[in-house]
């Protein structure tokens, strides 16, 4: 890239498959300043101890193919180039990858579920690092739902690619419900063909540090991406979601709505919402929203929406961010109708997150998320 071709946008500056192309983050960089680097166990600077294990178990309907492949499989890495050092580290370190393929014009009869489980014993000290790669390909006009679940104990960095062909529809639910000590740094990139539709739900509940970077790019007009997220952050947990939607072609749409609740000392939520509308992306329609509900003292929220518009011809572009305490007036109103403090608190939190949980299409996952939120609320009530 010559000097005259310096990128116009500052939100998405660099991409490379080489770890060495990225400096070791110090924590002063814009993209790392909210992340507790010391808790990443060396994933960011090459000192991570190898040998960790994350097992993948798949369940898919017959028309969907799930394969475990080696590093040299030509389908890997075609839609996504790592955008930061940890992502590049994961790209260069994984030993095998999972490829999910939905053939063209095929509507999957059931969700495809990939269960990822960290296999490190909790007692043996912090888990050694493991790396992964997942590629999901929807051929043109295919339709499918893919569920990724993350459990157990791990230090895990991975990249997930969603290649959504022309006219295809993909719905993804990624549940991060790790054990307490887990570290997970993940990039989830969706590349949308012409008239493709992509809906993603990120549900982050468990782990010590969870940093998920969902991004979307468009290959043709008519692409439509909806990115939803629900997180519940407990004391000491760091949950970070960094979204990037890069509108490079005309007449595409994007919606982002992430909501989280925080409780107890040093619960830290970070939400970064970057949207770029490039000069050629006329007729773009985008809106992003982040809301946080603070349930106790001692928590911290960093919420940063960034919108870069490089054309005057947009159909709609907006963003909003709001973080606040559980509203005393809400609680008073409900309690004045006889509802106890704890029940009122639950109703408000359920209502706040429920609007997104209801959108999850897979009933089993929806119930699981619902139960997990109840368990979080139980934990808060027990204090």
């Amino acid at each position: 890239m010559g000097l005259e071709q310096k990128p116009l946008s500052t939100l998405h500056e660099k991409a490379s498959y080489e770890v060495g192309d990225f400096d070791v983050p110090t924590g002063r960089e814009e993209e790392w300043r909210f992340t507790p680097l010391r808790r990443l166990r060396g994933l960011h600077n090459g000192t991570a101890e190898d040998g960790g294990k994350v097992l993948v178990e798949a369940e898919a309907p017959p028309e969907v193919t799930v394969e475990t492949v080696g590093r040299d499989d030509a389908r890997l890495g075609r839609s996504y180039v790592p955008a930061d050092r940890v992502s590049a580290q994961a790209w260069n370190s994984f030993t095998h990858a999972t490829v999910v393929t939905v053939p063209k014009e095929t509507a999957a009869s059931a969700p495809t579920v990939l269960r990822l489980r960290g296999d490190s014993a909790e007692l043996a000290g912090p888990p050694a690092a493991a790396y992964g790669h997942t590629t999901v390909v929807l051929e043109p006009f295919a339709e499918a739902t893919v569920v990724l679940t993350h459990h157990g104990s791990a230090t895990y960095a991975d990249n997930v690619e969603f290649v959504v062909g022309d006219g295809a529809r993909l719905s993804v639910i990624s549940l991060q419900d790790w054990a307490d000590g887990a570290v997970h740094v993940s990039h989830q990139h969706a590349r949308l063909g012409r008239d493709a539709r992509f809906v993603s739900h990120n549900i982050s509940l468990g782990g010590d540090v969870v940093r998920i970077s969902p991004s979307v790019s468009y290959d043709g007009p008519g692409g439509d991406a909806e990115l939803y997220g629900v997180y519940f952050v407990d004391g000491g947990q760091h949950m970070e979601h960094r979204l990037l939607v890069d509108h490079t072609v005309p007449h595409c749409r994007s919606r982002v709505d992430y909501r989280g609740a925080l409780q107890d000392q040093d619960a830290h939520a970070v939400w970064i919402g970057d949207v770029i509308i490039r000069a050629e992306a006329e007729g773009t329609d985008t809106y992003e929203l982040n809301r946080n509900l603070v349930l106790t003292d001692g928590t911290r929220v960093d919420s940063v929406p960034n919108l870069e518009i490089l054309t005057g011809e947009v159909a709609g572009a907006g963003h909003a961010s709001a973080s606040g305490r559980l509203d005393d007036e809400h609680l008073f109103y409900l309690r004045a109708r006889g509802i106890t403090f704890d029940a009122a608190r639950r109703m408000v939190v359920r209502g706040f997150l429920g609007q997104l949980i209801e959108r999850i299409e897979v009933a089993e996952v929806r119930e699981k998320v619902h139960d997990a939120i109840e368990a979080e609320l139980d934990r808060g009530a027990a204090k």
Partner: protein, 254 residues
């Protein structure tokens, strides 16, 4: 027979740098089952403070006095205990609670106040009937509580809650304000339905307009944080003609 007794009630708000401000300065009031009391008074006279203090809003601090319901100490109860004991406050500005549906909220409230969950079938029927009576579109049952409701719709929903929770004593805080005449009639009919029964009603209002539809047994004039005049319905007529001017002075000199 239920009786709400308020004795020499003093209430302050705020504990900031400028100190607490006393709003109620010795209120005495007794509301018995089947009685309708109107509390009237100019802006800032403390009417709404009385309503919120009785309901237990944390912003208002009772500095002295007593409130009892059938002899039970209301001031010792939490907000939700007061509601379960049979007190109800229809709010002047009902808050919006996103993601909590009207039906879910009503069922939770009814369950809490009655002490057991009603059968879903019975509850649905009861809710539908109550909504019909107040000309509320049944589709509202699935909407988020008060979210996007007009002023009139919010007030109707307050009365809906009142009719379903069947309190011993209901305090209506300016339920008439912001209503057009049609909505006022619907709301008044609702008030009359339960005011005719065993419920004691404390109707707080700035205007005499609602008293054409809801007939009070007693009228109390509020000024400067206390009751400065009491009488029957004829007192409301006097206020309609002469305004609050002479009572405003009475409150100030107290």
């Amino acid at each position: 027979m239920a009786t709400l007794e308020i004795r020499d009630l003093h209430v302050s708000v705020g504990d900031g740098s400028d100190g607490a401000k006393e709003i109620l300065r010795g209120v005495d009031l007794t509301v018995k089952a089947g009685e309708t009391h109107a509390i009237m008074g100019p802006n800032g006279s403390g009417k709404s403070t009385l309503a919120y203090a009785v309901a237990g809003h944390p912003k208002y601090e009772v500095t002295s006095g007593a409130v009892t319901l059938d002899g039970e100490d209301v001031l010792a109860m939490s907000v939700d205990e007061r509601a379960r004991a049979g007190l109800f406050l229809a709010m002047q500005y009902p808050v919006e609670v996103p993601g909590v549906s009207v039906s879910n909220f009503l069922r939770s409230a009814v369950t809490a106040v009655r002490g057991e969950a009603p059968k879903l079938r019975d509850f649905s029927k009861e809710m539908k009937k109550a909504m019909d009576d107040l000309s509320i579109d049944p589709a509202f049952a699935q909407r988020s509580l008060n979210e996007g409701f007009s002023g009139g719709e919010k007030k109707r929903h307050e009365i809906l809650q009142l009719e379903m929770l069947k309190p011993k004593v209901a305090v209506l805080d300016e339920t008439d304000s912001g209503l057009d005449v049609d909505a006022l009639k619907v709301v008044s009919e609702g008030v009359n339905r339960f005011a005719g029964g065993d419920t004691g009603v404390l109707l707080i209002t700035h205007y005499t307009r609602i008293l054409r539809y809801v007939k009070p047994d007693f009228v109390h004039v509020f000024s400067g944080g206390r009751v400065v005049a009491e009488g029957g319905p004829e007192l409301a007529d006097e206020l309609e003609n002469e305004g609050y001017e002479k009572y405003a002075k009475a409150g100030a000199s107290a």
